[in-house]
Amino acid sequence: MNLPLSKNQVTKGAAWLHANFGAEIAQAVSGKPYSASIVCAIACKETGFIWIGRTNMPAAVLLPLLVGDASGDVAGHPRNAFPKNTAEFRAEFGDAFADDLIAESNAARALRGLPPAHIVYKGYGIFQYDL
């Protein structure tokens, strides 16, 4: 199996994470059975393809754009977990909240060269926490 990121990319990504969030990572893993390296590896795995090539951008600008996962709203990829799609989210939480999240999604899409869409993404942040 091919790996999604090269060793050089992961090394660069880990350096960026330590430079920008080193103190927070150290605090988070203190007394835990997992290491800072594992935290960095998870971040690289989840969203590294978006930010590792864009580390010239300030972290504070980049972080809000790390939203993704259009499953349920693109052809061929149905979703079982809530929300199954944007329509289900809109029905549960209303237009205003849905439209706010769609605006976030479209800011992230613009960064990545994707056209605007009426999609609520389901993954948020550098670790892609589920909605």
Binding site: N2, G68, V74
Partner: protein, 143 residues
């Protein structure tokens, strides 16, 4: 030969390499499987995922899509359309030479033949964009 066969060649290569019809959308049009692979990337599923060229450093087995015929379709266009002229080729080698980092591709129907082409990469391994027949995406092969 008047029939464009480059996408058939790529589809054949992917099939020969062991991908199933569930894993790759075999097609005589590059734009069809690129559109499908962008949906995979959007859903974060599947073993072939298309990314903009500034997100994936090409490696062996990936596909690189570019414009042809003087067009300049971009990634946004590819995400919304399934029928337009383009070309893809399979990455078979990456390395350094006297001109810098590169990816070597093999493509079909390149001057009606199967040929190798050199794609320039930057120091981080990403494709260097070009003004003529610009690159559109990299389909990452995770299989």
């Amino acid at each position: 030969m008047d029939t464009a066969w480059s996408a058939v060649f790529v589809s054949w290569c992917i099939r020969q390499a062991g991908a199933s019809a569930q894993e790759f959308k075999f097609s005589p049009q590059h734009s069809v499987y690129v559109h499908w692979a962008i949906a995979n990337m959007e859903a974060r599923r599947g073993v072939f995922r298309a990314h903009p060229i500034d997100e994936v450093a090409p490696s062996i087995g990936d596909l690189i899509q570019n414009n042809r015929g003087g067009n300049s379709y971009d990634f946004a266009y590819a995400a919304e359309h399934t029928s337009y002229l383009s070309h893809t080729a399979v990455v078979v080698e990456t390395g350094h030479d006297s001109a810098g980092r590169y990816a070597m591709t093999i493509g079909g129907n390149e001057s009606d033949s199967i040929r190798r082409k050199r794609v320039a990469l930057n120091d981080d391994g990403y494709i260097v964009q070009r003004p003529s027949n610009p690159f559109i995406c990299v389909i990452q092969n995770l299989k």
